[in-house]
Amino acid sequence: MLQLLLALPFVAALGVMLYRSASRRTTAWLAGLAPLAGLGILASLTPRVLSGEVPQATHPWIPQIGLAFSLRMDGLAWMFALMVLAIGALVVMYARYYLGRREDAPRFFGYLLLFMGSMLGMVLAGNLLLLAVFWELTSITSFLLIGYWSHKNEAREGARMALTITGAGGLALLGGVILIGQVVGSFELDAVLAAGDAIRASTLYPAILGLVLLGIFTKSAQFPFHFWLPHAMAAPTPVSAYLHSATMVKAGVFLLARLYPVLSGTDLFFYVVSAVGAATLLIGAWNAIFQHDLKGLLAYSTISHLGLITLLFGLSTPFAVVAGLFHILNHATFKASLFMAAGIIDHETGTRDMRRLGNLRRYLPYTSALAVIAALAMAGIPLLNGFLSKEMFFAQALELETGGATMRIAVAIVAFLAGAFGVAYSLRFVHDTFFGDGPRAVEREIHEPPRFMRIPVGILAILCLMVGIVPAWTVAPVLATAARGVLGDAVPAYSLAIWHGFNHPLMLSIGGMIAGGLLYLGLRRLMDLHAVARHAMGRHLFRVNTRALLLGARRLTFRITQGSLQRSLWWVLVAVLALAGPATWQALAEGVGPSQPMPPTGWVLWAILMAATVATVVLHRQRLVALLVVGAVGLAVSLVFVLFSAPDLALTQLLVEMVTIALMLLALNYLPQASERSNHPARRWRDVAIALVVGIGIGGLAYAMMTRPLDTIASELLARSLPEGYGRNVVNVILVDFRGFDTFGEITVFGIAGLVVHALLRRARIAPDRVMPGAPGALPMPSNLSHLLFPLALAVSAYMFLRGHNAPGGGFIAGLVLAVPLLLQYVLLGSQYVESRLGFNYVACIGAGLLVAAFSGLASMLLGYPFLTSGHVEPHLPLLGPMPLASAMAFDTGVYLVVFGGAMLILSMMGTIRPPKAPATPPRNPQEAR
């Protein structure tokens, strides 16, 4: 039942929004059906709730954090559900006529229903975490509602402000709820409500209270978070009527009531809540007097009434709680009707500015009557519901015990002032709108709105009267049930009647009314109320802060990120120094071992490498020269590999060096020939410094590492290489067998590099930096000699490939030994010629290589062994005898193909770049000189 009740608005929202083609009438009916059906369900549950039963429903959701989909309807939830649904139904009816012809009704009703559902979910939640979920949902949906007229700047700003403030509160609430869960061990409301003592005794209590109250205060627009509420008035009036009477802002006080049993009873609670409530009460009421906008006045009045309710809960007596609950109901009724009335006025006159309104009782007699009734209820005039709860408040104020006489007097003064202010702004509302002169500068012809717009107002106004006159017959059971929901069995004795005798509260009340009347008159006399322009301080602050935040964020982010590569890299180095520097220092300080003596030839290599490295750095701006010098560095590196027993490395390094130089030269054709000196000298020295520090650090680490003893698995590799890997060149056996998977990945990288280059250059048109005049001259003698060389080089490639497993060589080296001579053909004969004669599909070559390598590994899988398990068969062939064949050879074939295909794809793509179609002017722009 509860699930159905909760699901109704969501389902209806979905229906409304999906069935967009429906007429407005149908849409409104669909929308209205949800609260009406909900009210039906509620009615069916009412007897059980009234009898003290608490209907529940639970679905597990995330047991790990104790979040269950628990619904629970006690008296409090019941009362709120009633309010949400009943006023919701009225608002839907009202909105059906309020919305203009061109407005997107499905969207409006959809949002409204979503909001209604969230609100219902919050009041029905039987799990605190679930409550927090719905709480935030109300923030989100109210954001959508407030911003419904999104073309209006105030609407967008108001929506964002509301979301920011209530969203922040929601996060705080979430924190508080989690803390409660940690104290109680469960989020289930039953458990939480039973654990009040534990919570109050917990060291986390102040944090819990603070966070939860933050949520409550923001949502209920308590001082100093109240400023979002007036700006939320940019919403269509039905939204305001709904959000600011019965629902959104009431969520805060609902939660206050909900958690009252566990949070109240401490001085902290008492002082904080009542102080904030009192402040809000006065500030709201005082400000309301000076509003010119009808809805603005109502908004501040709402703030004030919420302050009153908060104050009542803060006073922490059972009686005050009952009064608070009662006022929640009363406020909902009169405020909803007032908002609707304001909406009608706006709708009919085109303005809500009280300075232009007046004397509307002439034009809108029914509406005026209803609005006046509601306004008097707001002022707390006898015979109306507002009077009753105000009276209870005064009674409580005068009987307050906690805090002693000081507190009692303070609260009494607050009550008195609040009463006076309330009367004053109510008078202003009534007088400036319905009486006096006017209306001024209203262009429309004013007449009563459609009947169905007045009916909701009427119903609510009648309710105000009925509750005010015969409370015992109308509201008593509701209030009793709700009070039981909050207070359990501790519901105090109270009487709901208009007449309790001529007692202190009544005197205070009358005094307040008189004072209010005088205040309004006095203010009118003293100053021109209409000329008072009050700046919304809160909004101003919010704006300034938001802007400052955005600007600050932008500046900071811009400064940090800035899109500079050098900065990125600089930070990497700094991070390395920070994370590895101290340890390096420590390692070096702990001492390092001695160095072995080096043969003089080693020092020659050392000198070549060091000198060429320095020269590269010094000469780097002359690019071609730098490239040449780097060639010497590469040669020296490969000789270092020779010196220290790494023939395969030396070979690979040599070949890769050649291809790299080819690449760089190809690229240099499309880049400037010299680097401009772009950085400030200070920057250069800074870079020199960090480069040296990093270099010394890495060198030091390497030195320290080399002088430590090594316990490596390599001895096992050496031992098992021949018997199990069938190869004498252990490096090659590692590459194709022990760590064949690395090589598999490596050739994948190589192949992908080919693909990337291909992808980047195939359709690119790039102008060379400088085009040499004349046609490319033939080079007959070099090409002639290279024809002699080419087949021989191919033979060497085959040799390197076949020998690789036992001597330096292997698929990679052989692939490059194949690619480099072919590259030479490209250089000497031109790419077009070579490709027209040979025409390889290098992309397919890469694909084929990958497939071959993969299949050589897959073969073993078919036999049930892991991928890449090398096989070694020795079939005895006739005449030839035993014939050893290693599957690693097949794998190496894949390597060979990929390396050849990849290298050639890269080189040939770079060699065949087309110039732009337009006359080739080398790209020059001012930025080049940056």
């Binding site: 060497v796 053909q825 010629y833």
Partner: protein
């Protein structure tokens, strides 16, 4: 046949290269070498614009002997001059008119000129009728040209008719 084996000497060269590389003259290796010798020149031939035609092959040996000997002598000569005072050098360019028309012959001549220290073939004229040679120590351009033509070009004309 011509298409299958564009150049018999090249095929032989591949075979010999293979056998030297594997340092194994077993029949199996000879077979592999032979296959490669057939295959690779064919592959390479696809790129070749001009095919070689050999004339008197015996002249090759004659030429080789002569070149090796010249290489030795000129090496010593040039080494002496490098170590000596630089002032004594009179380097210079000279255009050598060519009678060879075959590109293979021209290439061979240019290579020989380069490989014998003291002379470097720097450029071939676009019409392939002249070869620009730089000489380390050019005393008499006429004599130098004559010597090159006499010592190498005549033999080369026989090899590459």
């Amino acid at each position: 046949m011509k298409r299958l084996m564009p150049s018999i000497p090249l095929s032989l060269a591949v075979l010999v290269l293979w056998l030297l590389l594997v340092a194994d003259f077993s029949p199996g290796q000879v077979a592999i070498g032979a296959i490669l010798g057939l295959l690779l020149p064919w592959l390479a031939g696809m790129l070749e614009p001009e095919r070689a035609n050999f004339g008197r092959t015996i002249a090759i040996l004659q030429l080789t002997r002569r070149v090796l000997w010249d290489m030795l002598l000129s090496n010593i000569e040039v080494a002496r001059r490098i170590l000596g005072p630089e002032r004594a050098l009179t380097p210079g360019f000279v255009w050598v008119p060519l009678e060879l028309t075959n590109i293979h012959g021209i290439t061979a001549l240019a290579s020989i000129i380069t490989l014998t220290p003291g002379t470097v073939s720097a450029e071939l004229a676009a019409d392939r009728r002249h070869l620009l040679v730089h000489c380390f120590n050019l005393k008499d351009p006429e004599a130098q040209v004559a010597e090159i033509k006499a010592r190498y070009e005549t033999l080369l004309k026989e090899i590459f008719p």
